[in-house]
């Protein structure tokens, strides 16, 4: 399974700095998508994003909006907040961020930071091995039978929550989400027999 795509929003008024950053990121080897935003509140309305991994902000943009900034931070608890610093800022402002990138930092330093984002999620990391665990195979067999999450949970004596988490891992490992797609996967990997399915 490929590494998950990383979504990063950048709040930086200078086009030169923005383009420079995006150029550096493009060489990081991490598959990422950049969203350029003009104001802080745009973070709340980014379309088509499952998870916003990081926001890179020129601290001047939040100087008088610390309150708003903290509200947005609270609404996005899994996001990493990075200050992009190229002039002097009070430590007090910088303390609102998780990490700082300086204008003189090396490409290696910046890319290391970005690559860490891609790997921080241990669940996703584990999913990079394609093989399904025995338990996931049990769940998959029942998905193929068309059972609901609740029915699967009852049959295997596990909670719905656990079933959902297994399903998520199965889809991440195989790349396949629909029931009929998973059926074909199961047949091609001899997890179920074709005869079982056609019966």
């Amino acid at each position: 399974m490929n590494k998950r795509r990383i979504n990063i929003a950048v709040l930086e008024p200078s086009p030169i700095i923005f383009e420079g950053l995006s150029n550096i990121f493009s060489k990081s080897g991490t598959y990422l998508k950049l969203y350029r935003i003009d104001i802080l509140n745009e973070i709340e309305n980014l379309p088509h994003i499952e998870k916003l991994d990081a926001v890179i902000i020129n601290p001047a943009q939040i100087q008088n909006k610390i309150k708003d900034f903290n509200v947005i931070k609270r609404n996005n608890p899994d996001t990493y907040w990075i200050a992009l610093v190229y002039s002097f800022f009070d430590n007090q402002i910088l303390s609102h961020f998780d990490k700082t990138i300086g204008i003189t930092d090396s490409m290696e330093f910046i890319n290391e930071l970005i690559n860490k984002l891609g790997n921080s999620d241990s669940e996703i990391h584990a999913a990079e091995q394609e093989h399904l665990t025995d338990r996931e195979i049990d769940v998959l067999k029942l998905i193929v039978k068309g059972m609901s999450n609740k029915e699967i949970g009852d049959a295997l004596n596990i909670s719905i929550h656990t079933v959902i988490s297994h399903r998520k891992n199965i889809s991440q490992k195989t790349g396949i989400k629909s029931q009929s797609g998973l059926t074909i996967y199961a047949i091609t990997n001899k997890i179920i027999l074709l005869e079982d399915y056609t019966n």
Partner: protein, 237 residues
């Protein structure tokens, strides 16, 4: 299919040049019913001659060039005609060209690689195609007429076939992820047998549809629906 470093398209650029940079834009022109030959026409020339909104053209073209829609679009009410023209023609492209093409490839695939899985892939695709047709018919018969009605400044009567933004969105995610499943199965899982060339063709076709379909959903969800909501509000006031 996605190339990241492309130019941002501006109204004064020559049509032939933007195509040289990104041939997928030919599809955009086709969806807008803009015709060859383009000579040395700029985007402004071509759009004005054909009554296509320049703002709409520019923002759609930049979606093809990989720029995600940033911030607020400020389209005028009249722009909706160009948007719907585009969407309708792209429906035609999926239904009458791309999906039949893929269906045909899968049938050929079964001829050379008659694994039971391939047969199931065919079944999977047929069912999927039916769903897509239903969705497209829903848009053609319910959604677009509703928009035209709004443009005609008529208050829509209550009752009848209701248009639901939520239903609209659910349809889309469904269409996209089954296409994804098909690609993943062919790319990663199903064993190959004498079908390398054919499989490359199928996967390429799948990418082509996906590319256009992603843009299609972005347009409907981030441009058309907000615009329609705005129009609905202004009619109530």
């Amino acid at each position: 299919m996605y190339q990241t470093k492309r130019n941002y398209i501006l109204p004064g650029m020559k049509v032939s040049e933007i195509i040289l940079e990104n041939p997928s834009l030919l599809l955009l022109l086709e969806h807008f019913e803009l015709n060859f030959p383009f000579h040395d026409k700029t985007i402004i020339d071509l759009c004005s001659e054909n009554n296509i909104s320049i703002d709409v053209f520019i923002s759609f073209a930049n979606l093809y060039n990989g720029f995600s829609p940033a911030g607020n679009f400020s389209f005028a009410k009249e722009d909706i005609y160009s948007i719907i023209l585009y969407l309708k023609n792209s429906h035609n492209y999926y239904e009458n060209e791309k999906y039949p093409e893929i269906k045909n490839y899968i049938e050929q695939l079964y001829q050379v690689n008659s694994l039971p899985e391939i047969k199931l892939i065919g079944k999977f695709f047929d069912e999927y195609f039916e769903e897509v047709k239903e969705h497209l018919a829903y848009e053609n018969k319910v959604v677009f007429p509703y928009f035209y009605k709004l443009l005609g400044k008529q208050q829509t009567e209550t009752g009848g076939t209701a248009f639901s933004v939520k239903e609209y969105r659910d349809h889309h995610s469904d269409i996209e992820f089954k296409l994804n499943d098909l690609r993943e199965l062919l790319l990663k899982h199903i064993p190959v047998k004498n079908d390398r060339v054919l499989r490359r063709k199928i996967i390429t076709s799948l990418f082509e549809v996906e590319y256009d379909l992603n843009i299609h959903s972005t347009i409907e969800e981030t441009i058309l629906i907000p615009l329609i909501s705005k129009l609905e509000k202004s009619l109530i006031e």
